[in-house]
Subunit: 202 residues, 2 copies
DNA sequence: ATTATCATGTTAACACTGCAAACATAATTC
DNA sequence: GAATTATGTTTGCAGTGTTAACATGATAAT
């Protein structure tokens, strides 16, 4: 009993898809609801049947993008099923690579106003998405416990997590935004840093 | 022969000042030329006598903010006139502290579209501002040369610079944007990380 | 000194934006 | 079959960046 084209079959999904594309192509500042609507061949207020506001649509787009990101990180983990340290290094590498390949996601993930809203919302609704970095965080925790077993010296777990995460996060941003200029292959440089023996005490 | 109030004495400076304040108070997304103009008690097109566009004004504001930032970093350097490593650590600390205290500058510095424009512009005009991180970068170079003298092992200078800068940059962003949640004193944690003996091979 | 020019402001108008209200019609429920 | 819901359109408003036409204070040229 398929009603092909009720009005638009599945406008909500298409808005997200075309929105993500628009964001990629024209940048965050040039993103507009009306353009997305036009891309879907629909009136400029139609999106309001599916999203409360512009930020609401952007949030949906961001969640979609987060899925890609999480998938990317999980693939890295699966490469080394039994080696926590290698997992973390590979994830750090994928982390940087992801934002080099999708620089527009940086703004989408971290620096739009909605980012705060996303945090609030998820507290109430979908806990799954609350920490898009769950995978990353867990790997750090695993390394922490492993490391603490090894020696008596108490390494502050928070310090380890922050420095670990901060390093890849910072490198990703510096490279993606081209604030750090380097003649060679950036990803190779990152790989060298992460795989060096002294990387963050690991 | 001072003509107090030709029309406005020094509107350009006031636009930058009030603009910076507006940016601080209402955030990047809520910043508008018309609000700045109103804050200066002037018509909404008056800014166009001093700035080509909205981005042009924002850029001027950003340069102003960069001055504050550079000053902050230089003060850190001056604390340890003869100790390169301590300089770098203190700068890293100030780096993070600055963005914790001025979170709105994160967007202004790194994630607005204008950031790219700023880079282009400075290539042509004011080279001084091209690298707002000159101070930071130089300190890294000094540490590099010092370290390389010590041992024969060749530490890739680029790797050292990227990991060093990336670490503080990433921590600053994670903390300022509250992506990294921690019960204690963030700055104390950062201090611990930077002053730990194994910090980035230094 | 008068005149022309420049600097700095204002007002009017345009296209674009997010958003709300009133309306239309397909789909679903009772 | 009637009432209700879901999804779309049209209309309208306030706010935005930007341009053009105009006014006038300040400065330079003659």
């Amino acid at each position: 009993m398929s009603y092909e084209n009720y009005h638009h079959e599945n406008l909500k999904a298409e808005l997200i898809k075309k929105g993500l594309k628009l964001l990629d192509e024209e940048g965050y500042e040039n993103f507009s609801l009306r353009k997305v609507a036009k891309a879907c061949s629909v009136s400029h207020t139609a999106p309001y049947r599916h999203f409360d506001s512009k930020d609401d649509l952007i949030m949906a787009i961001a969640i979609e993008a987060h899925h890609k990101f999480n998938q990317c990180l999980e693939e890295a983990v699966n490469k080394y099923p039994n080696d926590n340290k290698s997992q973390l290094k590979e994830m750090g590498y994928s982390y940087v690579k992801f934002f080099i390949e999708n620089p527009e996601y940086l703004r989408l993930f971290f620096l739009s106003d909605f980012a705060d809203n996303l945090k609030k919302m998820n507290h109430e609704t979908c806990i799954n998405e609350e920490q898009p970095f769950n995978t990353f965080y867990k790997a750090i925790e695993r390394c922490q416990s492993e490391h603490q077993n090894g020696e008596g010296d108490s390494v502050d777990p928070n310090a380890l997590a922050l420095s670990c995460w901060g390093l890849v996060h910072g490198m990703a941003i510096l490279i993606a935004k081209r604030d750090f200029s380097y003649a060679g292959d950036y990803l190779e440089l990152v790989r060298k840093i992460l795989w060096s023996g002294t990387f963050l005490n690991l």
